[in-house]
């Protein structure tokens, strides 16, 4: 076996140009594949961090039915106890109680269905960074009566400007329709104009007063010091307060689940296509090489080398070639990813529209150990695919015919 390995290795380097080209193809293929995977990861993480940072936070607590039914009476039960539990827990960095209502925003021109999100200006600012999306006016600590913040898209739809009034209409605890005038204190613009069109922000005390007459809380968003604690904290909360339902960021956002699932699938599909193309390139080259070497192989068989050994030798040549190329590709991509994960990729050149939509043009790629493993598996599969057929062809040679060539 050891001898065969040595022979294969020497055979590979008998044609440095040919082997060099194949190896270069393998290196480029694996390198680019891993880089792409890392880049997709980076984009994804950026999006997740954005969602967590601006609104979602790490854990949210609701009435168990609230996220589906959104009834005003479905408030968090024992809210004070939950809040004091959270303020004592060391994993918690900050939290923000929110009062929510579904309703209609009316301007003199037209009306639009909206979600009204009431929040404590200071606690919210400590928990999320949504205030950074403000493009005009002030955050909710504006001294005017009943301040409201709305998205640029909604403001345009309703033809409203900061300083003007709008009427919000919603149900109170007794299912009576209540309406109140709010003053537009500011305009925000998030990456999603759909979000901007469907959400308005008010102070929770104003909304609580109108909905319930006293403080009421439908949602508690919790920011942690470490994102890894989310599962543990959610299950602690669920045991401690069985009447409420705590969920982690991953459970909360269908968008995150969609992105991470779909992004992963696409990366693997593309990787597989590249690897298949690669292995067919190798296969054809090896096949061509076998035919060129018929004389040599025929000679080997005639002087008594067993066909199994010839088979193994040819297999080894393709395998060793692919694997050493892949290894170099892995090493190269590991270095590239390491470098880029510090420095980041500046994508503003590729898609200038991104920044306009609030995306940070800097992406920091990374690749997890599991992905390296999966990509290795694909590479090994490709290598096997490329090596079996030429090896079969080689052993089928007729030694008498072959050495005559």
């Amino acid at each position: 076996m050891h001898i065969l390995l040595t022979i294969s290795w020497r055979n590979i380097w008998r044609h440095p140009a040919r082997s060099g080209i194949l190896m270069a193809a393998i290196i480029v293929g694996t390198w680019a594949g891993i880089l792409t995977a890392g880049w997709v990861n980076g984009l994804l993480e950026q999006r997740i961090e954005y969602l967590i940072g601006t609104e979602l936070s790490h854990v949210q607590i609701h009435h168990p039915e609230y996220r589906v039914e959104r009834e005003p009476w479905m408030a968090i039960s024992e809210a004070e106890d939950v809040i004091s539990f959270l303020s004592e827990d060391e994993r918690v960095a900050s939290f923000s109680p929110r009062t929510m209502a579904e309703g209609l925003a009316r301007s003199p021109v037209t009306a639009a269905g909206v979600r009204i999100r009431g929040m404590d200006p200071d606690l919210e600012r400590a928990t999320t960074s949504f205030h950074e999306q403000l493009v005009e006016g002030e955050w909710l600590d504006d001294p005017v009566r009943n301040p409201v913040l709305m998205g640029r898209a909604l403001a345009e739809k309703l033809r409203l400007k900061p300083g003007q009034r709008l009427v919000l209409q919603f149900q109170d605890l007794d299912n009576q329709i209540t309406a109140a005038a709010f003053h537009i204190a500011g305009i925000f613009q998030s990456p999603s104009s759909e979000y901007d069109e469907r959400n308005v922000l008010v102070r929770s005390e104003d909304l609580s007063g109108l909905v319930a007459g006293s403080f009421i809380c439908h949602e508690l968003a919790v920011r942690l010091h470490e994102i890894e604690d989310a599962d543990a904290l959610a299950s602690d909360l669920n045991t401690r307060f069985p009447d409420n339902h705590a969920q982690t960021w991953f459970e909360l956002s269908p968008e995150i689940r969609y992105l991470s699932d779909w992004g992963g699938i696409m990366t693997y599909i593309l990787m597989i296509i590249i690897m298949l193309a690669l292995s067919f390139g190798i296969l054809n080259t090896m096949l061509m090489a076998i035919f060129e070497r018929t004389r040599e192989l025929g000679m080997l068989i005639s002087i008594g080398m067993s066909r199994t050994r010839v088979f193994v030798m040819i297999m080894l040549e393709s395998l060793v070639l692919t694997m050493s190329g892949a290894l170099a590709g892995f090493l190269l991509s590991w270095i590239t990813i390491g470098y880029l994960s510090d420095r980041g990729i500046d994508m503003s050149k590729f898609a200038e529209g991104l920044a306009e939509f609030g995306f940070d043009p800097m992406t920091y790629p990374f690749v997890t150990a599991a992905e390296y493993a999966a990509i290795s598996a694909i590479v090994i599969f490709a290598a096997l695919l490329a090596s079996v057929y030429p090896a079969i062809k080689a052993v089928r040679l007729n030694p008498v015919e072959a050495s005559k060539d």
Binding site: A24, Q171, I177, Y258, I273, A277
Partner: protein, 413 residues
Amino acid sequence: MFNPILMYLKLAWRNIWRNRRRTLITVSSITFAVLFAVLMRSVGEGSYDQMIENMARFHTGFLQIQDRYYEEEPSLDNAMPYDEDFGQRILRSDDRIDFIVPRIEASMLVSSDEITRGGLVLGVDPDREHRLNELRDNLVEGRFISAGDGSLLVGQGFARRLNVTVGDTLILLGQGRFGMSAAGKYPIAGLLQHPVTDLDNQIVYLSLPDAQWLLSAEGYVTSLLVTPTRTRFTEAVAELLRDQLADESEFAVLTWPEMMPELLQAIEFDRTSLLFITGVLYVVIGFGLFGTILTMTLERMREFGVLLSVGMQRLQLGFVVFLETLFISILGVITGFLVSYPLLTWFYFNPVRLTGDAAETMLEFGVEPILPVSLAPYVFYNQMMVVFIIALLVSLYPLLKLLRLNILDAART
């Protein structure tokens, strides 16, 4: 009569069949290159088509005719007049127009006995709407509505939020045209499961005449959706309608990229990243082909040497080798098409179904969990051209080698 070009062609043709095995390997290299390039592009384009189709079907349609102020100020006051004559006129203006779908749309408060929610009320022509997005198939309970029957359809999620079911009555409350108050009571004919979860939680369908009456907008719609026979005709049809309606300045014609700029942005962004990966694929393909051609060249060194020794000119020989490459590349690209077209057609009609978590989340977004492919002609044409060019470039190598060949060395190998 002696025709040198014909002779070269003959020589090249015979040469490639002299060593059938070698030719077949090279041709198959190119075939696979075309197959993979087409496959990658087709999967990419297919998923964009699916995205566009989904958004168009369930949101804005491919193109819309609206009042020219509606885009800026989507209020019923900016609705456009519409009747069957106008509809027929639009429909007949070009045979690339498949059908039209009139809609009137308003945000209203929707109340059951105890609960009130903001909802989106859509007045539609039930049959035409079904043609656009197979609405009828989404019915989960009760019956479908028909024109002017005074009943409504409601999203399943919305019905749950309002705690109502088929047979219950909903009250719609809001503002009609020119500030008229709009209020009406309608029994629920059926529940729909709208594929887009977000809409499922707020949508109410009325028949067009009922909605027009409710909103004091008889003879008006907020938009007329025009569906071209093919997605790619969208721009052309829009141009044509713009011309047609140029005299009637109250109308505006909008296409989906104008109505959903974010979707276009997302697609363009995705395309950019796919372009990078496609570039990588080309490099890989190029190297693979180069490996094959290189080996072939080495194998033929002796032959070249002999030919040169017996007096064939380098340029003549070079020309013959070039013709061989040309034949092989053309053959490879054609077989590549012959292999990839049926394969992709099969995938087009029997798409790969995704399962597991990814499929669930896709359904939540109203996207069918399949891996769609595109059969657009340009996908094939572009990739075949690219691979053909790569093959020709790679084949420059034997030519270069030939021009610098040392006859004595070559004849000795």
